[in-house]
């Protein structure tokens, strides 16, 4: 299943990449592959901006505006004037 095209804020700086492979390990949507010993983006539109890759890149080569892709969170955030967070449906993203 694919979401909207050309929206992600994901940026990879291949010059900084040391090819450790961490981004490939943590990404839940297989956005990265290793090409010529460095990370490369192979499926950009699959990115859900979770921020896992950026936070775990030891070379600081990845930038993304991470957040929750949840309409309810944006609505609640807009009404209460707070950051959109995902605690309305605690059970929904839990699975074995």
């Amino acid at each position: 299943m694919k979401y909207l095209k050309n929206v992600t804020t994901l940026k990879l700086d291949r010059d900084k990449c040391i090819g450790c492979g961490m981004c490939m390990t943590v990404c839940p949507h297989a956005v990265f592959v290793l090409r010529e010993k460095k990370a490369d983006i192979t499926d950009r539109d699959a990115c859900m901006e979770c921020g896992a890759c950026a936070g775990n890149c030891p070379a600081d080569a990845i930038a993304v505006e991470a957040g929750v892709g949840c309409a309810t969170a944006f609505i609640v955030g807009a009404i209460t004037g707070t950051e959109p967070t995902c605690d309305c449906a605690k059970g929904s993203k839990s699975r074995c």
Partner: protein, 363 residues
């Protein structure tokens, strides 16, 4: 900080009331200078019942486990350490995946929120993990320097920073804890499949009860308003005529609720558009067409029919749009983009529908 230390101090004289009464605890096991509670790895009917309650949004706010360190099997200083959130379901998934193994479970205080959501909020995060490892003196309890985290916790954690600050190296396990035994048995190599989040029909079906329960209050309120308003006519207010006149409206409201909170989410990939609001709008339109097809709108004027179509489509669109939060692949940038168009359209649809219904009274 002291407060935190006390909460995590499960291995000494901390607040153990919750522990001693928990049916999934089976004694304790020595560790370092003291002892740790030991957990069962087979889930009981009580665990399963709790899970169903959560799924149907009944009292799920209290579904927590006390943070701290727990033992599985005959855990000793060589046993691996697995980290999870203090949401009981996350904890249950992990302990049942560790059946017949010796291990430690480190439960972080995430305010009862599951790993993925808590990682997004950074409560399942680097600082919390570093503090917990220090507070329970993990370095003195185990000989190795390895922590196994669920992959979906990665968005809250910076593995290299945890290593710098604690000396423990992080290994990201599979996305689903059911894959954990296979992962452990293959010397911690994850297959590409274990690394990917899926969102199949079953996952979606499992998530719709919560959507239905959360939205039903608003639909019931709308139905009540529709019922009361149905008494209004050009000749005045007729309370007795209201129920029978309201019937078509109530049916349409209910069907748009089912379309938006159930059929939209469950049939997600079958709508030929990508925006969730658009998927919901199509579901709403189909539901309305179906209702019209079986004669629900027969006694309506054409203005009324248009009004209810606009309302039904807007409601369903709104409800399915909110399913973005339960899905596993929507990005905040994408949701923001679709909402910029969808929310004004939904408001226009609902208010426009109401205006049309009022106009209809005077024509």
């Amino acid at each position: 900080m002291d407060d935190m230390a006390e909460k995590l101090d499960c291995c000494s004289n901390g607040p153990v009331d919750e522990h001693s009464s928990a049916p999934w605890l089976i004694g304790s096991i020595p560790s370092g200078q003291d002892s740790c509670p030991r957990v069962a790895t087979r889930l009981t009917w009580a665990d399963t019942l709790g899970r169903w309650k959560v799924r149907w949004a009944l009292g799920r706010d209290r579904y927590t486990v006390q943070p701290g360190l727990y033992a599985v099997g005959e855990a000793d200083s060589d046993s691996l350490v697995f980290v999870t959130a203090n949401y009981k379901m996350s904890f249950d998934c992990l302990r049942s995946a560790l059946h017949n193994r010796n291990a430690w479970i480190l439960v972080l205080d995430t305010a009862g929120i599951n790993v993925w959501c808590a990682a997004g909020k950074r409560t399942f995060g680097t600082d919390n993990l570093v503090d917990s490892v220090a507070n329970i003196n993990l370095a003195e309890r185990v000989n190795h320097r390895k922590l196994i985290l669920p992959q979906l916790g990665a968005s809250g954690i910076s593995a290299h920073i945890v290593s710098q600050r604690t000396g423990f190296k992080i290994v990201y396990g599979p996305v689903r804890s059911v894959d954990l035994p296979a992962f452990l048995d293959s010397s911690m190599k994850a297959t590409p499949q274990m690394r990917k989040v899926e969102f199949g029909m079953l996952d979606r079906l499992r998530l719709t009860p919560v959507e239905l329960v959360i939205s039903i209050k608003y639909i019931l309120f709308a139905m009540l308003v529709a019922l009361v308003a149905s008494g209004v006519s050009r000749t005045g207010y007729d309370l007795h005529a209201a129920p029978s006149r309201a019937l078509p409206a109530l049916t349409i409201l209910l069907s748009s609720w089912l379309a938006g909170a159930f059929f939209g989410p469950v049939l997600l990939p079958f709508f030929p558009v990508r925006s969730f609001a658009a998927k919901g709008a199509i579901a709403g339109l189909l539901a309305f067409a179906l209702a019209a097809g079986v004669g629900i709108t027969q006694k309506m004027t054409s203005i009324e029919t248009c009004a209810w179509a606009a309302i039904a489509i807007s409601i369903a669109s709104f409800l399915t749009m909110n399913f973005t939060g339960a899905s596993t692949f929507t990005s905040p940038s994408g949701v923001r983009k679709e909402m910029r168009v969808a929310v004004p359209a939904q408001i226009v649809g609902i208010l426009g529908g109401i205006v049309l219904l009022i106009i209809n009274l005077f024509t």
